[in-house]
Symmetry: none
Subunit: 249 residues, 2 copies
């Protein structure tokens, strides 16, 4: 597990539906966050939580159940509360990306908590006052209330993206199958196009520019690899031979 | 509703659990995306879908149910498939942020589709070939499979963040010269390629898959406009006629 993400804790307050606890555990594990605290859950452990956790039931088994928010965050250097609404009490609000950056910078030296309120009513004002910041997920003003696990998914996703952006990110830069064609190889392809299209009567040699320019722009934009250049030249050769190869076979 | 987000369509393929369809609708509406297409859902409409949609049941009522992926994307200028795994067939892969940027840039001039595969098995290879890009949510290598609605939530969240980042900046990147080709127009092009290359003896009709897949991948990546599709089809027609047109001139 990533060291910074291992400093992150998700705290759920008074969750009503055990299915949501399971779905939160799944969202966390998908993003590499594993520490889950439950403040007075309505029902836990519960079969529905385990079912919705899918393969993340190890997080449920290791979850810490406590009586108060204070107990859940006592050892944390940063506490951020999720909020669906703008509060009457002005409080510093971060968007999820800024929240991730802030949490990771503190995680280098201490534990950090992401606090998720009740499904219906969120955080109380007393709970809010334990938070250093609020995080607000920008949402459709006409329909602001995200599902608890969906909101958690977005927030831990941003944490993972921030961790990857830091690292020499061994991202997925899928290794290319074949090397990219060189400019010289592309010139060979374009010359082959020009020759073939002229032979087919498709290109007017008196005025080839517009068509060849369009083809160049199109294939340059593609970023052809060497195998693709070979395929295209094979097609051009077959077109020049007018399918003669076929009759030879 | 935001104009760019109104161009975005979410396509769910063969969804097994109706609850997931409802949760996807909620995730979409939270982020201001409303167009939902369902390809052969196992059970729909369904009470569980409506329950999980919470206040987003209007999206379910307006959802379009179709028989094939082709029907769901025929009028789309960009198709991005969500993929939890690295494929044996290398295909251009975006992360969710780059995916959002790409989708919004195309949404300025056409409809764009985000295609979500089955809960267990994702997208088939045949479905993959309809996608211009794949989008992969970076996840814990030991536990990669996000819930369908959670994955959708992350992807539409990034779309909303990208829209907000554009803000009052009236970007409107260079107006394209010609509209992008739709998925249906591209299918016509690929069918024309297959027919011509078979006639030329370049393609073995017994085993066309590898070559056609490479061509699809190459041209999907390019983002062809309608003029370019016309040029390519003109070349194919000329090749089929074996330059007969020339002799007539």
């Amino acid at each position: 597990m990533n060291e910074l993400l291992s400093q992150v804790r998700v705290v759920l307050i008074n969750t009503s539906h055990p299915g949501n606890i399971g779905a939160v555990a799944r969202a966390m594990k998908n993003m590499g966050v594993s520490s889950l605290y439950l403040v007075e859950p309505h029902e836990f452990p519960a079969a529905e939580a385990t079912a919705r956790a899918s393969g993340a039931d190890d997080l449920l088994a290791a979850a810490t159940v406590v009586d108060t928010l204070e107990a859940a965050i006592a050892d944390c250097a940063l506490v951020v509360g999720a909020s669906a609404r703008l509060r009457t009490i002005p409080w510093p609000v971060l968007d999820p990306r800024a929240c991730a950056a802030r949490m990771l910078s503190v995680a280098a030296s201490g534990k950090v908590a992401l606090v998720m309120g009740r499904e219906r009513s969120g955080l109380s004002n007393a709970e809010l006052e334990h938070c250093h910041y609020l995080v607000h997920i920008p949402s459709n003003p006409e329909y602001t209330s995200l599902n608890l696990a969906a909101a958690t998914q977005v927030l831990v996703y941003e944490l993972r993206m921030a961790v990857l952006a830091q690292g020499d990110s061994p991202q997925l830069a899928q290794q290319p199958e074949h090397p990219l064609a060189t400019a010289g190889e592309l010139d060979g392809l374009y010359a082959h196009f020009e020759e073939t299209l002229t032979a087919l009567g498709f290109l007017d040699p008196q005025n080839p520019r517009q068509l060849m320019r369009r083809l160049r722009r199109m294939f340059n934009r593609t970023g052809l690899d060497q195998m693709e250049v070979n395929i295209l030249r094979g097609i051009l050769t077959a077109a020049q031979n007018g399918g003669k190869k076929k009759t030879r076979d």
